[in-house]
């Protein structure tokens, strides 16, 4: 596969905390435009992996590159949008309108530079359209529902016009309607060419959306098409007490996708 088609590449990744390996020596590659579900049991290393890919945590060994650049470089950070875990989100009493929150996404482009021009206004407007929340721009975030607030945070990430979106359990605790709206928005974004990495506990639902999957359980259990993960070793890793769920899903197991291929 030509290098330019690889959005994210992890090589020999190991992360040790307090003497315990959260994951050890694994490698994978994610194609540009892929929609990848990151699944695994609690404490399996999903969020840590995401933070390593975002350059927030330094791996004990190995490296991650984003479009060929180290993940903690300015060029790489510029191309990644991040929607954090719902539990760690903004304090609802924070005095800000949805418009101000989305506009804050432009600091990813400007850094410490002052100024807000026509390009910024256009990017913010596009983010509002993509997430269908233009009507909320003047509302304070404390007056929004959980689903609306999550879409504001998605719009903030999109305002930086990233090529990759990394989302850490963004729909946890949302009602079914809000979840479906969120999934629909991500589907549309993926169609426009955005690479999406989505951590979720809702394996069955995310499997319908994603094109491929990564399953973590202190190691890379499998990485490939979603059929491989959802029907094979991935599900066994998630439900190791419940045996092989392949027959339940009736999907064929598949070989790994990427892996530097």
């Amino acid at each position: 596969m030509p290098l330019k088609n690889i959005a994210i590449e992890a090589t020999g990744l190991t992360f040790v905390r307090n003497g315990e390996a959260l994951f050890e020596n694994f490698s994978f590659a994610i194609k540009r435009g892929a929609y990848v579900a990151v699944i695994g049991p609690n404490g399996g290393g999903k969020s840590t992996l995401l933070r390593v890919m975002l350059g927030l945590l330094e791996p004990t060994a190995g490296s991650v590159s984003i479009f060929g650049k180290p993940c903690d470089s300015a060029e790489a950070r510029r191309r990644v949008g991040y929607v954090a875990q719902r539990g760690g989100m903004i304090d609802p009493s924070f005095p800000a309108t949805a418009g101000e929150v989305v506009r804050a996404g432009r600091t990813q482009v400007h850094g410490l530079r002052h100024g807000y021009g026509a390009d910024d206004a256009k990017a913010v407007e596009t983010a509002f359209k993509q997430t269908r929340i233009g009507h909320l721009r003047d509302r304070v975030i404390s007056s929004l529902s959980g689903g609306e607030r999550q879409r504001v945070l998605l719009a903030r990430a999109l305002a930086a016009e990233p090529d990759i979106l990394m989302l850490d359990e963004p729909i946890e605790g949302l009602d079914p309607g809000s979840r479906e709206e969120f999934y629909a928005t991500l589907r549309d974004l993926n169609k426009t060419g955005k690479t999406i990495l989505f951590i979720s506990h809702d394996v069955h639902r995310i499997a319908k959306e994603a094109t491929s999957a990564l399953c973590l359980r202190h190691e890379l259990v499998c990485h490939g098409t979603k059929a491989c993960v959802v029907t094979g070793r991935g599900m066994r890793a998630l439900h190791h007490d419940h045996g092989d769920l392949s027959s339940h899903h009736g999907l064929e197991s598949d070989g790994p996708l990427g892996d530097g291929s």
């Binding site: 975002l54 350059g55 927030l56 300015a74 950070r77 510029r78 990644v80 991040y82 954090a84 760690g88 989100m89 903004i90 304090d91 009493s93 924070f94 005095p95 800000a96 309108t97 418009g99 101000e100 929150v101 506009r103 804050a104 996404g105 432009r106 600091t107 990813q108 400007h110 850094g111 410490l112 002052h114 807000y116 003047d138 304070v140 404390s142 007056s143 903030r156 990430a157 930086a160």
Partner: protein
């Protein structure tokens, strides 16, 4: 007419000038302290600044600069101990608050024989501010406001969500340090106006009053500055006519406006609910 009479006195003119500079600077930096839940940090730095003032008297340094240096040393010390993770964050902040105040009082006590009035540092003495001090307050206050407005968007992004801001490539740690230094500068210029024991209130109370209106961040800031300015003018005027302590009267006016805002917000919200149910 009342204002014209007050302003015919040079000492009151200087008091209003110093007070109004502080009334803009304090909520400008205070809004970031409030939304980041750094209110305790503001109080700690204010108490530490007293030790700086006292040390400044020994070494012949201006109280404004001495207070600022003490606050910056405290910020670095607090951060260092926090990084070692041997003590909880709030414990570290309390340690510096008590230690700073105690050191300040002891050092000032050593100088009281030279006719020094300790309460003027604790509660302010805006009526005795000199022309040179007003210039110092105006210069530093303008720098605090200008820098904060220049870095408004990065400060806002970091206040909203540190982790997302760091992932976006913002230098979160340095921005936090700069915010604390700007807070230190605000505290330093406030010593003559409201004193070290009351500056925390002037940074926080107008912002809390503005937050009752549940508007956006910039609008909250604008209302907080207005509340702060009105409190300063009303407080200084009342203190002149009623012979009250000026700094404390300014803070009491801010507290009164906060209570008024809270009541108005509750009435508005109740009115809106009634309209919605009809």
């Amino acid at each position: 007419m009342i204002m014209f009479e007050i302003l015919s006195y040079g000492f009151m003119q200087r008091a209003f000038e110093a007070g109004l500079v502080l009334s803009i600077a304090a909520p400008t930096i205070g809004i970031f302290f409030v939304v980041r839940r750094y209110s305790a940090m503001a109080d700690t730095l204010a108490h530490v600044s007293l030790a700086g003032v006292a040390a400044g008297l020994f070494f012949g340094i201006s109280s404004v600069w001495a207070a600022m240096i003490a606050c910056i040393v405290a910020i670095l010390g607090i951060e260092r101990i926090r990084e070692q993770r041997t003590l909880a964050s709030d414990t570290v902040v309390s340690l510096f608050l008590s230690g700073g105040l105690a050191l300040g009082v002891v050092l000032l006590g050593l100088r009281t024989s030279s006719g020094l009035n300790v309460t003027s540092f604790l509660f302010g003495s805006v009526l005795t501010v000199t022309g040179q001090e007003v210039l110092q307050i105006a210069g530093l206050g303008a720098a605090v406001v200008a820098l904060t407005l220049l870095l408004w968007e990065p400060f806002f992004a970091v206040s909203l969500d540190e982790e997302v801001a760091e992932a976006a490539g913002l230098p979160v740690r340095n921005l936090n340090r700069l915010l604390a230094v700007l807070g230190a500068a605000t505290i330093a210029i406030s010593i003559h106006v409201v004193g070290v024991l009351l500056i925390g209130a002037l940074m926080v109370v107008p912002v809390l009053a503005a937050m009752q209106f549940r508007v956006g961040f910039r609008a909250t800031w604008a209302i907080a500055v207005a509340v702060s300015a009105v409190s300063t003018v009303a407080g200084l005027t009342l203190s002149y006519y009623l012979n009250l302590a000026s700094g404390a009267t300014v803070v009491l006016c801010a507290v009164a406006l906060f209570l008024l805002s809270m009541t108005a917000a509750k009435l508005t919200s109740a009115g809106a609910s009634r309209t919605a149910t009809k």
